[in-house]
Amino acid sequence: MDSESKQSTEELRTHPEHPGEAPTVTSQDISALIGRVVQRDRAAFATLYHATAPKLLGTVLRILRDRAWADDVIQDAYIKVWQKADQFDAAKASPIAWMASIARNSAIDELRKHPARRGAGDEDLDQLPSAQPTAQAQLEDQQAVNSLNSCIDQLDKDRQDMVRLAYLNGWSRDELAAHFDQPVNTVKTWLHRALKQLKRCLAP
């Protein structure tokens, strides 16, 4: 790529610092990109990265609260995406759920291994409850978002917070127990009930 070619495309106005904000990458696109990655298509891999990395980095960063650490986890996550793309089965999982699970699982495994490395987290509680919907591009299906939010809203307030702190911030049972001032076994029981209630509420 020479400098002339770069220069000549400058007129195509973009906002590369916010590529996630164009509401245009659909779940189907992500599936297609993963399909190309199975074919060892590096360009498709780069496109997949640009379409999904901001969301996944946001997710991992919220759990680890350390940028360098989160970058490392994202790197590992995309290596796994490359290596495991052929295991993705669109009949069993949405592509977003599949990629998110790879990133979240890596982040939570890391956090459990090195809990002391996590930065200060006073903001975790401030981030709850859910932020207002934004104009940002959504990889999530809006209907599913609404359904889940409405089901979470039906939980007791403490349990709403527990579910969100666990899923979004990576809090362990022990951390939840300390914060909510309950025995760990009670927290476990509450979580189980909350999850069962969510499943019932979401059942078609």
């Binding site: 195509l12 590369p16 696109d29 399909g35 360009a43 939570i108 899923y167």
Partner: protein
């Protein structure tokens, strides 16, 4: 509580992330050989993933993708030859094709060669749907063009491209050997970045399959000369060989 119930709760807490470390590791290794557990985990991932709506995207640093790609290079070079990329040849053909367009048009000096990511929609039941991605540079997808070869319906969507500046328009071009040496206009994108979805109906699917597409910046309303006059980026509908490899989504 039944066993099934226990297993589902285990899967749910695994996905939530709250299982104690040892149990979590057990579930992670067990799911590989336990399709029932694996299916329950996938179902919970689907149930809970909408919570990510809450997460504000964070733009990765500019070097992270390069780091990842470098790591992939290392892994691939140490990997077995079985990891040979099956479509390397096709990508090379694609690049040559774009160079040919550049050389064969008078606008070669301004029409930049930009890396083009090309991929095919290949859901098992709909092999006639294709997509081209127009990339600004090695990194940013600018537009996506999807074409259903059967109905010849198409759709252009901006990804990172913003509406053109005042007095400019984006114009979509098609280039194919059968159409002669010059790109032919498909149409001018509206200010809302849309285009007539049936604008490709005059071309037969075989031609579309082999064609290269370009999007250029032109004076408002389109090129006054009938040829691209502004900087262009190129995309190419991925050919169908991929279907023969037995891969499907």
């Amino acid at each position: 509580m039944t066993d099934q119930n226990d297993l589902d709760t285990l899967a749910a807490e695994f996905v939530l992330g709250t299982l104690p470390t040892k149990e979590r590791a057990d579930v992670a290794s067990r799911r590989a050989n336990d399709p029932e557990l694996d299916a329950l985990i996938l179902a919970w991932e689907d149930r809970l993933v909408p919570m990510m709506e809450d997460v504000a995207p964070v733009q990765p640093g500019p070097d992270l993708l390069a780091r990842i790609e470098q790591r992939l290079d290392e892994l691939e070079s140490t990997g077995s030859s079985a990891a040979e990329p099956p479509h390397l040849a096709t990508v090379t053909v694609l690049r040559n094709r774009i160079r040919r367009w550049q050389l064969s048009t008078a606008v070669a000096s301004v029409a930049a060669l930009v890396l083009v990511a090309v991929l095919a929609f290949q859901p098992a039941q709909q092999p006639q749907s294709f997509v081209a991605v127009f990339q600004h540079d090695d990194q940013q997808p600018a537009f996506m063009l999807t074409v259903d070869l059967e109905s010849r319906q198409m759709n252009v969507r901006p990804v990172t491209a913003e509406p053109p500046t005042q007095g400019k328009s984006y114009q979509l071009w098609i280039k194919a050997d059968e159409l002669g040496p010059d790109p032919r206009s498909v149409g001018v994108l509206t200010n809302n970045m849309t285009i007539d979805e049936s604008a490709l109906r005059q071309y037969d699917p075989e031609l579309l399959r082999e064609a290269t597409f370009g999007i250029s910046v032109e004076p408002e309303g389109g090129s006054p000369t009938g040829k691209p006059t502004g900087p262009a980026i190129h995309g190419y509908l991925y050919p169908t060989e991929a279907r023969d490899s037995g891969q499907s989504l």
